[in-house]
């Protein structure tokens, strides 16, 4: 669209496009709203309710981000093309997520088991968080000690024989999971 075509719609800024025409107080109000949301997002998780934490911490983060994008970046008056482009990029992130989550979010399937699968078991979680004070605890050190116990390709047969239970890492092996 040329500048001439735009001109009859109103004022053009130095870049040849419509500029925002808000007073300074408009932006200060939005900033104040963002600060109120910030306080809520800090205070909410202090109550210790898991659902409330998710809503206040992450729900409000989304709201804050949308407010900044819409009113500070002026996406509310930007051409739809920009919205589509940004949404396409978000879709790319979702595709990356779906592609990797199928592997990362699972630790065994019908023909495979991760060597570190015990890390994701309830037993490990209990053993990890139920122990003594672990100030400065090194979780990866724990990881490396246990790795050789469950090599790739042997886990299914080991599980069938029950031969590697409580080896090395002192934790029960992951129970086989089916239906994946």
């Amino acid at each position: 669209m040329s500048q001439a075509a735009d001109a009859h719609h109103g004022h053009l800024n130095s870049a040849g496009e419509h500029g925002p025409h808000h007073p300074v107080s408009y932006y200060v109000k939005i900033w104040a709203l963002l600060l109120v949301l910030l306080v809520i997002s800090i205070a909410g998780p202090m109550l210790g309710n898991k659902v409330l934490t998710l809503v206040t911490a992450f729900g409000i983060a989304v709201v804050k981000a949308l407010i900044v994008a819409a009113f500070f970046m002026h996406l509310n008056i930007e051409k739809k093309f920009v919205w589509y482009m940004l949404l396409a990029m978000l879709l790319a992130v979702v595709m990356f997520f779906l592609g990797t989550a199928a592997d990362v979010m699972k630790y065994d399937g019908s023909h495979w088991t991760k060597p570190t699968s015990y890390l994701y078991t309830e037993e490990f979680k209990k053993a990890f968080s139920g122990g003594e004070e672990h100030e400065g605890h090194d979780a990866d050190e724990f990881d490396s000690k246990a790795l050789p116990n469950v090599p790739y390709g042997e886990t299914e047969s080991h599980k069938a024989q029950g031969s590697h239970k409580s080896e090395g890492h002192g934790l029960p092996a992951a129970e086989p999971r089916h239906g994946t």
């Binding site: 669209m1 925002p20 997002s41 900044v68 482009m85 979010m105």
Partner: protein, 192 residues
């Protein structure tokens, strides 16, 4: 047009000046970079119990102060754009320097925070959580430095009343840096 403007400003095939369109594309690519990082973090955090333990050691006060600082610097960035719209280059430069002040404050707080964490043994090699923590916050910190540098360069033109349209472009970039932090903040500091 009294002054010849660069082609990035004059040409407008999509109805959006090319310079601004380029900035949006840059931010589109940044969405995949930071989006990938954040999604990786969420997957590991859900799956791997020690990450929740490690996250409990991050400094919520430092994170909160820095969120406040970035939100406020975003206000200054949009006010700089507002001043540039009114062809007030000197005021735009003033607000840009206030925004740069926010960037420097952010980096000082981050420096103090990291120093304290490293002194407690939480280094980038301590475990995978801290490795992620320094990578994500470090990459974001580099964006803060890049944004502050770009704003400083633009501000010198503003003082001479030149290329005022660029104030909006650095502003858009800065707001994106703010948005990335808005998501890093609850992930690293709040959800414990």
């Amino acid at each position: 047009m009294a002054m010849v403007q660069p082609i990035a400003t004059r040409r407008s095939a999509t109805g959006i000046p090319t310079g601004k369109l380029a900035m949006w594309w840059l931010l589109g690519s940044e969405i995949t970079i930071f989006g990938g990082l954040l999604v990786s973090y969420i997957m590991m955090r859900i799956m791997y119990a020690p990450w929740a333990e490690a996250a409990a050691h991050t400094n919520t006060l430092a994170g909160s102060i820095n969120t406040f600082v970035l939100l406020t610097s975003s206000l200054f960035a949009v006010l700089a754009h507002h001043a540039a719209e009114q062809k007030n280059g000197k005021l735009a430069a003033f607000y840009l320097w206030l925004t740069i002040g926010g960037a420097l404050t952010f980096l000082v707080v981050k420096g103090l925070e990291w120093t304290n964490e490293i002194r407690h043994g939480f280094t980038i090699t301590a475990n995978s959580f801290w490795s992620f923590y320094y990578t994500a916050a470090g990459l974001h910190g580099l964006h803060v430095i890049a944004g502050a540098t770009a704003m400083a360069i633009v501000s010198f033109d503003c003082l001479r009343g030149k290329n005022l349209q660029r104030v909006e472009l650095v502003g858009i970039y800065w707001h994106f840096v703010d948005i990335v932090w808005i998501f890093l903040f609850p992930l690293l500091y709040i959800a414990k």
